[in-house]
């Protein structure tokens, strides 16, 4: 079968219409805004104040001392002895997130949040009548509005480019508080100042793939023919996407549907007992079911995993015949799998996820009285918890974990942010 060579594309010469906003060290900056005494000091934000919990966000003062996101508290303290660690406070970040969305929506209806601290404004179609100023002016205006509406310590990076990928690259060029524009005119110059791993989506493995094909710099990556990227480097349609992405054509304007819903927890006890493990599992099942109901979904499949102290990993999963959406049903299935686990070491981390998702038939009255009771009970619990705060009514099996497992800020997705912040 003859190979069809991919058409070569020139760099996109259209006027940049995408503006990427990235709040600098978001959680740490918000904490410094909220607590003036922390300003100018190395601050780390973590999900839980334990030695093994990792740094979720570090302030620029901490970053200057070598503290990086993902380090454990102990490692970070070696580098920065004066590091102040504080626990995440989701309502604060939610407030800033909502403010950011409000500011972004005032410019264009076509916005998208990439994560809690990153958003994209697509100005396509809005420049004729509304946003007639140059995007650089609008960028500076957004920075000022953020300072006025949230607080003077808030800073953000702004990147302007013809597509989402280049706009994000532009936003990471001058941190903190930078504003950069990438167009077809300065694309080569900008890429020449970067490493391959500076590009979003190119980490160690993709770098190795590119290196194997003789590509060592972003400029060489840009100059590589589409055929080489598709057939030699990525061996998939990803190569074509990269070819277009680097030239300023939009390939990332996609919405992904939910495939799994789950919860994980690093255990708070060194040597957890069987009872405490089951209590944690029950609590996680309840929160997972809550997320399912929040998205009007039910799940056929349940997967449970455990990471042991030795570093070993165990998981078990199963697809069932009927879908579930209530906490007790998810727990019943999860405990079935959980009891099959090997007992040779203490568990350090455990998690549960539901897959095989389908739209929930919660509103469908069943012929079976038992099924209806389960639905009504879940609805009644959700109503009471909605009125008086989450886990006002909960299952007895989850009670020992209440207050121990806290809802934390999820990385990346903002899908459950509203749900998380509605909790008391």
């Amino acid at each position: 079968m003859p190979r069809i060579s991919l058409p070569s594309l020139l760099v996109n010469t259209e006027r940049p219409q995408i503006l990427h906003i990235d709040l600098n060290s978001c959680f740490a900056t918000v904490e410094q805004q909220a607590r003036p005494l922390l300003r100018g000091r190395p601050v780390g934000v973590t999900n839980r104040l334990t030695k093994n919990a990792c740094v979720v966000a570090a302030s620029y003062e901490a970053k200057a001392l070598g503290v990086k996101v993902g380090m454990t508290f102990s490692e970070a303290r070696v580098l920065a002895p004066d590091l102040i660690m504080i626990e995440t406070d989701p309502p604060k970040y939610h407030y800033v997130y909502k403010k950011l969305i409000k500011i972004m929506r005032s410019y264009s209806p076509n916005i998208g949040m990439k994560s809690i601290d990153e958003g994209v404004i697509d100005f396509n179609g809005t420049r004729t009548n509304v946003n007639q100023q140059p995007l650089v002016v609008i960028g500076h205006e957004i920075k000022q509005r953020l300072r006025d509406e949230v607080g003077p310590w808030m800073k953000c990076n702004i990147g302007i480019a013809p597509n989402r990928f280049l706009a994000k690259t532009a936003a990471s060029l001058h941190k903190p508080d930078g504003l950069d524009v990438i167009t077809h005119k300065n694309l080569r110059q900008t890429l020449s100042s970067l490493q391959l791993t500076d590009l979003t989506g190119i980490a160690e493995r993709n770098q190795a793939r590119l290196n194997a094909a003789g590509i060592y710099t972003p400029l060489q990556f840009l100059d590589a023919p589409a055929d080489v990227l598709v057939r030699k480097v990525f061996r998939s349609v990803c190569g074509e996407d990269w070819y277009k992405r680097l030239r300023g054509y939009e390939v990332d304007d996609l919405e992904h549907s939910i495939k799994t819903v789950g919860r994980q927890f690093v255990l708070d006890e060194q040597q957890p007992t069987e009872e405490s493990l089951q209590a944690r599992l029950s609590y996680m099942c309840e929160t997972t079911a809550l997320k399912l109901r929040y998205n009007n979904l039910a799940a056929y499949g349940v997967r449970v995993y455990i990471r042991y102290k030795s570093g070993d990993y165990w998981y078990e999963r199963k697809m069932f015949k009927t879908p579930v959406f209530s906490g007790s049903d998810v727990y019943r299935r999860a405990i079935l799998l959980f009891n099959r686990r090997p007992h040779y070491d203490y568990a350090r981390e455990m998690g549960i996820s539901c897959y095989g998702l389908t739209p929930s038939n919660q509103n469908q009255v069943s012929l079976l009285e038992e099924a209806n009771r389960q639905i009504w009970l879940t609805e009644a619990m959700d109503t009471i918890n909605g009125q008086y705060g989450e886990f006002t009514i909960t299952y007895a099996s989850s009670l020992p974990s209440r207050g121990l497992i806290k809802q934390k800020i999820p990385f990346g997705s903002t899908r459950y942010f509203e749900l998380l912040c509605n909790r008391a």
């Binding site: 004066d82 309502p91 003077p152 310590w153 009125q387 008086y388």
Partner: protein, 117 residues
């Protein structure tokens, strides 16, 4: 050996207390307010608080954000008097002020904080 373990545990506890936050969770009196025109809305902020027989004059407002407890809306005020950070909660339903916690300046005392004003 036992002494060594005791030492390590003590060290780890000391490390975990870096953020010197004291939980209070008590009702307090806000005896003075100041008003600010923010985003075309006149907004009210606490200026002076009476707590435990002493007066605290706030010098700067950090962040004011709403949060929910069930269906009750609570307004959280992060304030400072220049020596410590105070977290106050205003219950919009019961119209009460609660001092949640005080974070003092013992941490990294040799680094000078940067104030907005």
């Amino acid at each position: 050996m036992k002494a060594l373990f005791t030492f390590i545990n003590f060290q780890s506890l000391k490390e975990l207390k870096m953020d010197q936050t004291t939980l209070i969770n008590k009702d307090v009196s806000i005896v003075a307010y100041y008003f600010k025109n923010a985003n075309h809305r006149l907004r009210c902020f606490p200026k002076r608080m009476e707590y435990d027989g002493r007066r605290v004059n706030f010098t700067e407002t950090g962040l004011v954000h709403p949060t929910k407890k069930g269906q009750r809306t609570i307004h959280v005020f992060d304030m400072t008097d220049g020596n410590a950070d105070y977290r106050l909660e205003f219950d919009a339903q019961n119209l009460t002020w609660k001092l949640i916690c005080i974070s003092d300046t013992h941490y990294a005392a040799h680094i000078t904080p940067v104030f907005a004003s």
